[in-house]
Symmetry: C2
Subunit: 142 residues, 2 copies
């Protein structure tokens, strides 16, 4: 199956019509070897770089959230500035580099299993995520 056909399928599975804008978003997001983290602004920049063309912000937000809802993207909360998204949708944790503001994956087997001894009555656990904030190790920091 061609890459394009895959994206069309992915869009259909998400309940979206395969328009040219959405296929372009797919190319930027899913036509890669490795997974990666991005902000909406990153995505806009990549699209304008790769296609020399602008897709409306509304379309980008709508499509990204549709993929998130379907489970093809994951949203990561670091601070209240902006949202980060992740093309790695497996259960995994993150390092957040406070110098560069970049996320780095930390797989489940990079952390010894987390055992929670407390529970909230009447509630089920939806996710357990660890965020490890890191920063430069040297002295010359402000």
């Amino acid at each position: 199956m061609s890459k394009n056909a895959k994206f069309v399928e992915k869009l259909r599975e998400t309940g979206l019509r395969p328009t040219k804008q959405r296929v372009k978003i797919c190319k930027v997001l899913f036509d890669r070897e490795k997974t990666f983290h991005f902000t909406i602004n990153d995505l806009v920049k990549r699209i304008s770089e790769e296609f020399n063309e602008k897709i409306s912000l509304a379309t980008i937000y709508n499509t990204v959230h549709a993929f998130e809802k379907k489970g093809y993207l994951k949203e990561i909360s670091i601070n209240s500035d902006k949202s980060y998204f992740d093309t790695n949708t497996s259960v995994h944790h993150h390092f957040y580099d406070e110098d560069t503001h970049k996320l780095i994956d930390c797989n489940e087997n990079d952390i010894e299993s987390i055992n929670i001894k407390k529970n909230i009555t009447g509630k089920k656990i939806n996710s357990v995520e660890v965020l490890i904030r890191v920063a430069s190790d040297n002295q010359n920091q402000n």
Copy 2:
């Protein structure tokens, strides 16, 4: 020492002059048995309820951030909607109730120690925080 004198001291330690607005903020934040979580909006509401008086948003933001910088408050990132703050400044984790949008503390000893096997070269770990998202356990959910 009177409560008031304590707050004045706390403000001085934070490098802030003990004005009447700031002392009121202290009363709302630090004159309690138990620690709690709040948003800026919560704080504004509490102030207007307890003192029947409005303190400017700018003053509230500035004071809260000054306390955070000094280590008297902790900022918690849940989503990009808004910031949550915590009067519990110890190292601890959180349950986030996705139904009520409330935080519940999860102390370090409610979780078996987290052992991170991976590290980022040249970086030191500033914090390791676990966020456990929970939601209603019953079926009648949309």
